[in-house]
């Protein structure tokens, strides 16, 4: 989910597909508005690396090409 607002000291508002909620940032460091995070039981567990997501997409597109 995407961070849309920081709520000091350690909370943030996250959003996905039109829904939003407040979560705790107690378990992550150096995240800012606009970053994506993995959300689990009301906490951000880790930041999502969009660059790596792009690489995954490339790899999957390669794999899915038929070799006919």
């Amino acid at each position: 989910m995407k961070i849309t607002e920081l709520v000091p000291p350690d909370m943030a508002v996250v959003e996905a597909d039109g829904i939003s909620m407040e979560i705790s940032l107690a378990l992550v460091e150096d995240v800012s508005v606009g970053d994506y995070v993995i959300v689990h039981t009301g906490f951000a567990l880790e930041a999502l690396d969009i660059g790596e997501a792009e690489k995954t997409l490339e790899m999957l597109r390669d794999i899915s090409k038929s070799d006919e």
Partner: protein, 322 residues
């Protein structure tokens, strides 16, 4: 467990005049008139939720049950059980909601009852509504009427009501495009039946247990198999996001303003067009078909091209959702 409570215990005590089809409403014949009769009690918590409240739900719920029997809802009874101390302004808000929903449904509340019990003896407010209507001529819809080859149609996005209620629980404070779909279906169903009559074999609104449960019930009642396509099932994006967060599936969450229709396959295309263009059901879709094989089982072809069984939900359904 609720199913077994009803079938193993309660039905044993009810009269045996053949009205045990377990459809949403009973079909009665009184002096030559075919009448649908239904009742429901509403215990939803919280009482006010995004898109509705226990009042709008109480009217829509019973009105829709009558409609699902192919009948035009005419009259409702309204019974309230209030916990002492229930705020008057909340009661007035609910009553206004009942008034507005009844007007939309074109039904009149003609009789009722109100009781107040001590604090702690009932949670806030419980509402019972019962309704009657006359079955449209040339129409015979029933859960046991689905036939192999029938197209399975849903009138709109699924799971909305369940998600709206669940989003208010568990301390999540979700905000966003979540809203119950609770609404009377008369403006869609009556013209549909009027136009397509006997081509509509089954109508059911997927309430407790969601569309998956309703499909299973019909598969068993009609002794047929049902196959649905995951890619064809309309789900609101925001609802999907909530389901992922909470670990639910939209197909298993109640709708209170949608219906499933099992129809003659040759009419399916026309019916979809009719629903989308003339009945305000913009997301109506053909989601599957009835098969001869695997009777009693509902299967789904998934987005990835695989398949899985859409089973009856087991154990506890979500409490106090309608």
């Amino acid at each position: 467990m609720m199913h077994r409570l009803i079938s193993d215990v309660i039905l044993r005590y009810s009269g045996s005049s053949g009205h045990n089809e377990l459809d949403d409403a009973a079909e009665l014949h009184i002096e030559g008139n075919s009448i649908a009769f239904s009742t429901d009690t509403f215990v939803v918590k919280p009482v006010f939720f995004p898109g509705g409240d226990i009042g709008s739900l109480a009217v829509s719920g019973t009105v829709n049950d009558i409609l699902m029997k192919g009948a035009r809802p005419a009259f409702l009874s309204l019974s309230l059980v209030l916990e002492e101390g229930f705020p008057l302004e909340d009661l007035e808000r609910i009553l206004e909601s009942i008034r507005q929903t009844s007007a939309k449904a074109n039904v009149e509340i003609v009789t009722g009852d109100t009781k107040v019990v001590g604090r702690g003896e009932a949670d806030s407010i419980f509402i019972n509504t019962a309704g009657i209507g006359t079955i449209l001529p040339g129409v015979h819809v029933s859960g046991s009427n689905a036939r192999p080859g029938d197209a399975v149609i849903v009138s709109g996005t699924v799971g909305r009501h369940g998600i709206a209620v669940m989003s208010e629980r568990g301390g999540l404070n979700l905000k966003g495009g979540i809203s119950s779909d609770a609404a009377p279906l008369n403006e869609a169903v009556l013209p549909l039946l009027d136009r397509f009559k006997g081509a509509v074999h089954t109508l059911r609104d997927p309430t407790r247990g969601g569309a998956a449960t309703t499909l299973n019930e019909i598969a068993r009642s009609s002794d047929v198999g049902i196959t649905v396509e995951e890619s064809a099932i309309p789900v609101d994006e925001a609802d999907n996001a909530v389901c992922e967060l909470l670990g639910f599936e939209p197909l298993y969450l109640p709708c209170e303003g949608r219906f499933l229709a099992f129809v003659e396959p040759s009419t399916a295309g026309e019916i979809i067009k009719f629903l989308r263009e003339e009945s305000g059901c913009r997301e109506a879709a053909i989601i599957g078909e009835v098969t001869k094989t695997a009777a009693g089982v509902v299967q789904m072809r998934t987005l990835s091209g695989g398949s899985r069984i859409l089973d009856m939900p087991s154990g506890e359904l979500l409490p106090r959702i309608c």
